[in-house]
């Protein structure tokens, strides 16, 4: 992760004080992303992936969140910037595609009006020019009859069309950073496939940096160049998509891979789930947050429960946060995990 990445997140912490204690939703996250590349952020609910994306967009500002660390976007630091300044960047420099387009769109305004509004904030053009642009954008994301559809309300669209309209809105100002938070979770598989294809094509066309947040390893495998696996607010493994799928080194990543029934392999007798459930972010287990669920925790000689393991490089940019030493992890993967996963 070089200094000059287009997006550089350094030691980002987003904590929420609550009556029950401090919720450390994001706790020391560091990553970088270049233009034209796609980063997949994977994790279970409550791992801090959505909070991270809202943090980058500056949407926690003015709330109760305590934010520290640095977010560099194209040479500009965002954490210390004023909310007004970040607001000026939203839409033009960075934009977001939300999970549920029905609640992310305003029901009283037509789809066209919502795209026009965003476009005119950043471009000094007349309404009719902006409307032409909106029609053009709707056409590009594959909405049939865009000239008629631009005057429709969100409820008149089907789920897949709404998601397309959301994408059109997010891309209307040609943002350089696009964050998609579970963009296909609310959709049916055949529509999901259409939307994933569309996002891939548009990203190539616009050469934007894309962060895709999801719990579905299949979706990240389809789109990502790099993958960041989050657990309890921390990055526990980071690497190229190949690293994560073919040479994963963290027991949690193994667990995720073993938990998924897969269509591309012969079915196994049993899935290999991770025991227990994700921790509460108020009471994150001491030491390695994953150790209560880790089948290999006792191999660390008691360190797992007391020391937080550092995020260390194992090879060429592949980072792992685990107390087990490299040789041991590779041995476990090659001898114990991979054979079981591959007989599937």
């Amino acid at each position: 992760m070089s200094q000059q990445s287009f997006l550089d997140v350094k030691d980002l912490r987003i904590h929420f004080p609550t009556d029950d204690g401090l919720v450390k939703s994001v706790d020391g996250l560091t990553f970088g992303l270049e233009r034209g590349k796609t980063l997949g952020i994977v994790g279970e609910s409550g791992s801090g992936k959505s909070v991270t994306s809202l943090g980058i967009l500056g949407l926690h500002k003015g709330g109760r969140a305590r934010i520290s660390g640095e977010i560099w976007l194209d040479g500009e630091e965002l954490v210390s910037a004023s909310p007004e300044h970040v607001r000026g960047l939203r839409g033009k420099k960075m934009a977001m595609i939300f999970q549920d387009p029905l609640s992310a769109m305003h029901p009283y305004y037509t789809v066209g009006d919502q795209i026009i509004e965003a476009y005119r904030i950043h471009h000094d053009v007349s309404k009719s020019v902006a409307k032409k642009h909106a029609i053009d954008m709707l056409g590009r994301v594959g909405i049939p009859e865009p000239t008629r559809r631009v005057d429709s309300y969100p409820h008149e669209f089907s789920g897949g069309m709404r998601q397309r309209a959301m994408i059109a809105m997010a891309l209307s100002c040609d943002p350089e950073l696009l964050i998609a938070d579970e963009p296909t979770t609310a959709l049916d598989v055949t529509v999901q496939a259409q939307i994933l294809d569309l996002m891939r094509d548009l990203q190539r066309e616009f050469n934007s940096a894309l962060i895709i947040i999801t719990h579905d390893l299949g979706v990240v495998a389809e789109l990502s160049d790099d993958i960041l696996v989050m657990y309890a607010g921390k990055c526990i493994e980071y690497g190229t998509t190949e690293d994560i799928f073919y040479r994963p080194e963290h027991p949690y990543t193994w667990g995720l891979l073993g938990s998924m029934p897969r269509l591309d392999r012969e079915p196994t007798e049993r899935l290999l789930p991770i025991k227990g459930s994700p921790p509460s972010l108020i009471n994150v287990p001491p030491g390695c947050a994953f150790h209560p669920r880790c089948p290999y925790a006792e191999l660390t000689g008691g360190k797992a429960g007391t020391e937080v393991p550092p995020l260390a490089e194992t090879e060429g940019g592949h980072l792992v946060r685990c107390h087990l030493d490299k040789a041991e992890r590779r041995r476990l993967w090659e001898n114990e995990i991979k054979p079981v996963l591959e007989t599937q």
Binding site: D188, V189, Q194, D216, V220, T241, L263, P273, S277
Partner: protein
């Protein structure tokens, strides 16, 4: 699987929801949520019911458990016609037929303790287990992997996965013969999903349960089912044993569904053959005539718009409703061709 009498047999089942409009609330149409479907479930097997939203899979589940009144067809459970059985005669039946719901948050009463929730079936059905209700409930809790000491706790004290276990415990209380599970794992995290899937399988082996699993996730369905039925707009378009359906699907829709599932294998993404359907599922209020899939099907021809393909057995236990099935064994001339000349 025993190939004897089916535990549940559904024949030409229909559910049309009337649509009323205007001042006089006249019926202007009907949503054909389930339209003429037939299938059987045999003792000890798992039948998977897959399809996209709005295809009628959940309605089917609710019809079979008689939470909804069918508008046509027949439901036979253990040889008894229960299609229009009244509340009184349904109650004893509910002992043998239970349901697992999707959302473990809304399907448990927040004001009841776990003991009250799981013990409710005993009280409602007037069943007195010999060891007492409390003991029986604790045994079931243990069976589903919960601590028997959780008896006095409330649902909010549990995580999503544990709540789903509570729901499953309630379902199992009276040792039902048939369990209809409507999206039992889709609200859960990936790692928890696997736990619950394994639990359902273990319970099936231990208690000799029969499942109908309704889900939209094709990989989960493949994992737990023995046979799978694919639904599209209120119709079953294909039904076959799991291996056949996933390795040699015959209906174009099944093919498209399977190829749309993202595969967690980045090397495979380049050389995978994909079928991309265009558009969305049409509205069940006004489904396309004849073959309902013809508006999105790349193989559709004139006949598909005029003649509805019947659900026919093309290979052992493999039934398909399509004029131009794929992967089909040598079809004797006639079965697909006759309607064209008629």
């Amino acid at each position: 699987m025993t190939e004897n009498e089916p535990l549940l047999s559904v024949q030409n089942l229909q559910k049309h929801f009337p649509v009323h409009k205007g001042l006089l609330k006249r019926q202007v149409g009907a949503v054909k949520a389930v339209d003429d479907i037939s299938f059987e479930v045999f003792k000890g097997e798992t039948l998977g019911l897959v399809g996209e939203s709005g295809c009628g899979k959940s309605t089917t589940g609710r019809l079979v458990t008689r939470l909804l009144e069918p508008t046509g067809g027949k439901i036979v459970f253990e040889g008894r016609d229960i299609t229009h059985a009244g509340q009184g005669s349904l109650r004893p039946l509910r002992r043998d037929m239970q349901m697992i719901f999707q959302d473990p948050y809304s399907s448990l009463n927040p004001r009841h303790t776990v003991g009250a929730i799981v013990g409710a079936p005993f009280r409602i059905q007037g069943v007195k287990p010999e060891q007492g209700i409390k003991k029986a409930v604790q045994e079931i809790l243990e069976l589903v992997g919960l601590n028997p000491e959780h008896y006095n706790r409330y649902p909010h004290e549990f995580s999503g996965g544990q709540r789903q276990r509570i729901g499953i415990a309630r379902t199992l209380a009276l040792k039902p013969k048939l369990i209809i599970a409507d999206e039992p794992v889709s609200a859960l995290d990936v790692s928890i999903q696997a736990q619950v899937v394994n639990l359902l399988e273990d319970l099936q082996n231990e208690l000799n349960l029969t499942y109908v699993v309704i889900a939209h996730d094709l990989s989960v369905v493949r994992h737990i089912s023995d046979r799978v039925a694919v639904m599209y707009l209120g119709k079953i378009v294909e039904i076959a044993d799991r291996k056949r359906l996933y390795s040699a699907p015959m209906h174009p829709y099944t093919n498209a569904l399977l190829s749309a599932v993202p595969v967690p294998d980045p090397r495979a993404r380049a050389d995978r053959e994909r079928i991309r359907l265009t558009g969305d599922v049409p509205s069940p209020l006004n489904p396309p005539p004849a073959c309902r899939f013809h508006t999105r099907c790349w193989k559709a021809q004139e006949i598909c718009k005029t003649v509805e393909p019947p659900l026919e057995e093309l290979a052992g236990g493999h039934r398909v409703a399509c004029h131009f099935p794929e992967n089909a064994p040598e079809v004797p001339a006639g079965s697909a061709g006759t309607p064209a000349t008629a």
